[in-house]
Symmetry: C2
Subunit: 455 residues, 2 copies
């Protein structure tokens, strides 16, 4: 006997119930994307390597899955290079395509390639898998879906407001109360670094500050010192270490701290605009909070930065994130296209809904009526009824084989069928059906119209 | 300026309207799959190479996209092999994973791997992309979706009946009248070869017969002769060259032709069972026809063979196909699992619907109300209304920037917005909205409740 087959590490098979739950989340997100005026695009699973390489840093380049050229791919490699047996150099000769690593770079490529067909501002969403040759671990996969929505072609802050509303709408629809939408602004981080005279150390500073949760105030200060940030500077940012209060209070603190930095004050102004709008149009189930330690995608974001935290009672990393970027398409030669976007973390949202038992009972369609198979004539009689029921949108099925009753009932049970329908000799004669309610166990004989009405 | 980016040949970007149309088809198929009691599974985009290699013949092996191993993949290649510079031998050393080539082999792998979690008969559907390194040409892509439904674990012919009904239901929902579901049976082909004493030439015989459409009776006869099939044998199958009539007449002809072949008569019996059932439960929009020249997947199918032809007025190859196979999972060591399945050709169905103009006008969600942006206070006032409208499921949007009216109206036009809503100074004062019907051009001032009712 052949070895039991398996799948590559870091990948997953999804069973029917898992597919149903995943699509419940995806469909909910999609519905809200559409309601907010976003349009779907889809891009190929693999791109030309030069579209992807160099866009995610050195580490990213290593984690991109490369596709081997077809045919006699070694023939084109010149001997000198071949003799070096250098994997990195060989790759670019024997592989011209690579699996997409995220949806952002393909989106940028799409915008540039199709710029003449697009009406800006362009609101697009995209829900597709991406692949990363990451070391697999709990909750980290080599194939996973990203769900992104972006607007490009406008700098309006109303879009940030809209994205916060969008997050709130999606999580409301998923009945996931208590998420926190954490917001920061790249300009505030720059401003802080500026006022403490450490603009050249912005990255070191924010990387350290980002660890406040994990290593505490003393740990952060120690790291900052070790990176050459002065005691004096650290004293100036003391308010950040106990950055408490509601959003209005936090904004006032930031105004005090940053009043000497033009860029910092611009960041505060942007935050304030968004906060005030959200105060006027309150969220349904989420809370907007300011978090000055938030530094995700710092190389990338130029304005607002978002991160969504799961409800406090669930231990889980962020379930969404995003921000404003000023030059998405520059890498492909189209300058000055500002954009802002958010992403939903499908796998983590799945785990949260699972943990909080928030998937609706009806997430997967269930057989309403399973017809027992008693033989050829009876099956044909049943199939006629099934055909009519399906036209009414009722999920009805015939057990395919005229096997033992017990086996068929067992199957009905496992499929979770609500009703089992028996149509044997006498029912055929009477033009009726005997209907067994699988929950109560009661049985009733009825004609087709009564059956249809019941189901 | 960077070079304008592009995508690999044989792949496609899908614009919003294309995505909407594709998902209209996919969702219709999915809905019917579910109504017929099929459950979805999803498998990883790439499989271990040994799961795929050797399953599709030599040509298939060549067309499978292989993924390069990560890291210093050349290090593991021993010098002797490396020095041979043999691409084929190298591939198995530097690539362990490959993109799936179809959904059938991954499904077989899934069934074997998860056999203990599955209740048989297992009715699964799967709608995912597959990849083939085929030479791209009109209508043939390197990445495309397959939409498959299969039942494994039962030999019941009721399933063949159900699949014909399923085809009919899907095409009815798509309003695609006039498709023909062509059916044959592997046993009939074997039987014909048997009665003419050419059982050893079954493949040659069917390959020639399959060309009847293209090269005509004389061409087929010539090819058969050239393959060593005798004049005498060809005379015996003369009825196949003018195989006209309704399904009942055709079955009678086959009974005459095949009465000396046990296997052939078994095939006729199976066809007859299916035909009679479909006569009792008539199809809505499709026609079932027998086509003894149909020989698709002959290496594979063991019973019924299906192929769906587009309506006669459309020039298009088959838009679906399938059949019965007796040993799907044998390749992975699980014997005696009979299955039957069908597939829908998404790309071709798309082209047919496009040609016949059958996509509904509402295939893509359209902005119902675009609110003009007159500045901060007005935008906030509008956004409050938008927020309430969205809660009612109404697609409403704010133009993000307070730019020239003309630009905003232009955008509304391009987005196909039904109504443009103007809320300036006086509307804010009156707590009203001026609503412009973009079709009729009429304008009306109304309060929020009236607006909501209108939309």
């Amino acid at each position: 006997m052949a070895q039991k087959p398996s799948i590559p590490k870091g990948t997953r098979d999804f069973s029917p119930i898992e597919v149903a739950k995943r699509h419940y989340i995806i469909d909910t997100i999609k519905e809200q994307f559409q309601l907010f005026g976003f349009h779907p695009i889809e891009t190929p699973s693999f791109e030309n390597s030069d579209t992807l390489m160099g866009k995610y840093g050195e580490e990213g380049d290593r984690l991109i899955f490369k596709i081997l050229n077809s045919g006699d791919y070694l023939k084109k490699v010149d001997d000198a290079l071949y003799d070096s047996k250098d994997s990195t150099k060989m790759t670019s000769k024997i592989s011209e395509k690579a699996l997409r690593y995220d949806l952002t770079v393909p989106f940028a490529r799409y915008v540039v390639q199709h710029q003449n067909e697009i009406d800006f501002p362009f609101k697009r969403y995209q829900i597709q898998p991406v692949w990363r040759a990451d070391r697999p671990q709990k909750g980290r996969f080599r194939e996973f879906f990203q769900c992104d929505a972006d607007v490009v072609g406008s700098k309006s802050l109303w879009q940030e407001v809209d994205f916060i509303q969008l997050y709130d709408s999606v999580f409301s629809k998923l009945k996931l109360d208590g998420v926190t939408i954490k917001m920061n602004n790249r300009k505030i981080l720059s401003g802080i670094a500026e006022v403490i005279g450490a603009s050249d150390k912005l990255i070191d500073f924010t990387v350290a500050l980002d660890k406040l949760d994990k290593i505490g105030e003393e740990g952060v200060k120690k790291e900052m010192l070790s990176k050459g940030i002065s005691e004096d500077a650290i004293t100036k940012v003391q308010p950040l270490f106990n950055f408490e209060g509601n959003t209005t209070e936090k904004i006032n603190k930031l105004k005090d701290l940053l009043n000497s930095s033009e860029e910092g004050m611009q960041g505060v102004k942007e935050l304030e605009f968004i906060v005030k709008a959200i105060q006027t149009i309150p969220l349904q189930c989420a809370t907007l909070d300011l978090d000055v330690t938030l530094a995700r995608g710092l190389n990338y974001y130029t304005g607002a930065i978002f991160e969504v935290a799961a409800p406090e009672n669930v231990k889980m990393g962020s379930i969404g994130g995003g921000g404003r970027y000023d030059d998405l398409t520059g890498i492909f030669g189209l300058k000055n296209v500002s954009g802002v976007g958010v992403s939903f973390g499908l796998d983590r949202i799945y785990l949260v809904l699972e943990e909080l038992d928030l998937f609706p009972e009806t997430v997967a369609p269930v057989t309403k009526a399973l017809f027992i198979n008693f033989g050829e004539a009876e099956a044909l009689y049943s199939l006629k009824a099934i055909n009519k029921l399906r036209k009414e949108g009722i999920l009805a099925e015939l057990y395919p084989d005229a096997t033992k009753m017990k086996k068929q009932m067992n199957y009905a049970n496992k499929k979770g069928a609500k009703y089992v329908i028996l149509a044997g000799d006498s029912e055929l004669k009477n033009e009726t059906f005997t209907v067994k309610n699988m929950e109560s166990g009661t049985q009733n004989e009825m004609n087709f119209d009564e059956l249809k009405a019941l189901l």
